[in-house]
Amino acid sequence: MRITKASAKVLIQFLNNPRDDQYGFGLMKATGVKSGSLYPILARLEGLGWVEHYDEQIDERAERRPKRRLYRLTGTGRPAARKAVSDFYEDLGPVPVWLPGLQGA
């Protein structure tokens, strides 16, 4: 599975924070990927079944904000994302050791 640099950044963000589900603006801020690329990437990953989205479970009145749409890696998406990212970095050179979440890849 060939991925782009922006996709790799997004997947790394997911892999680095396995317990935190991501949201659009957070991903944009963390990865530096612009909105015009991020949402098509997320849609593509959802199409592949690597990522799924769900609505945040909060009390909107208590939190005084609307529910966000959160994204997370699926069970099948996690190893596939690891492999895709490692393949991506293999093409560029050795896998950087400082990238967390890729040691096992």
């Binding site: 603006f25 997320l42 849609a43 959802e46 199409g47 609505d55 909107e60 005084r64 609307p66």
Partner: protein
Amino acid sequence: MRARRFGSTAAPRAADENQLASYRWSQRFAQRIVRIAGWIYKAKRDEWWADLIFFQQKEDEAGLRLATSCLVSSPGLAWPHASMELAGWLLAAIVEVTSAVLRIGYLVVVRCVQWSPQALGVASCSLVGHWLPIGGISNPEIASLVILAPVGIYIGTTFPRAFLSLLGAAGGAAIGVGAGAEVGANMSLPLFAAAGILVGDGFGYWWAETVAAFRSDAVRSPHPGVNVIAMDRRPEPLRAALASGGRLLARMRIILENEARSAWARSVAITGLAAKGLGWNPLGRADAESSQPQRRVVVPPRTTLAAPTPIAILLPEVAVEVGLTTHGTATNIANEPRAKRRVLQSGKQSEMRRSKAAQRRPRDMSTRRSRPRAT
């Protein structure tokens, strides 16, 4: 999830009042930008809004850069949706234009056939005027045409069958004589003339029947205000011409209005089916899901439930003539469950009444029988 106004965001840590004011200003500006971006790309409107509010509350940032990014990218993200809509509009326009051209063409043909006896009457009277010009005046042919044209219209209107048969026979005889002259034999001339008369008379009779059929049809209008637009059976020339012109316009308007209502739904459905058939899904799965609530095409019952034949769609007037309707079947189907329910309910009620009466009757009889006679 609709974008709601969650106005009170967390207070910024900035102590300085100027900083606070500028922070609030940038917050509001970012919110405005996200609103505009969401207006452009409605599928992400709520998501962007919720993200921005969260971002401003928790991250303690205005999110101006991210909001601008959303605004810049929104046209590109919205393009697949817009292209589908554009394709739908184009298809609708093509369907509309084709349908209008067909209808107008059909109406023109109908009118030409309906008024052909009058036109032929005028033409034949002008021939009479050509052969027998009125003497003593300038332009005798035009004068005789002006004088004889009403006579031709009257004859064509009042005696269309006899006139057209006669005209057909005369034309047939002329053609037969011409053909006989071409053949050259003297004996063949009456033979050809007789054959021409027979064929011409038959053609004239058939034409008169067609005119009568076109004149006497009644087109049931699907417009609720207008039930029947009856064609004139025996039109008086001037009044009929005026009334007919008005009816023609009314009829065209009704047809075009009705078609315009359903054309959009039809074209959207056709586009969707075509896109599905070609495997074209430019929105992607997630975007397609998220974009579902943003636009709902309300398909009228007659377009969803009816199974109209192509002729019924394209030429409702022909369909009416041959016994098809574009809307009647659908309306019946749409009303069927309720009607059935009513029938069933009424049937059940009457059955219950009958059974109650049947239950009551033997008891009454038994009570009567068992009741001792008063002595």
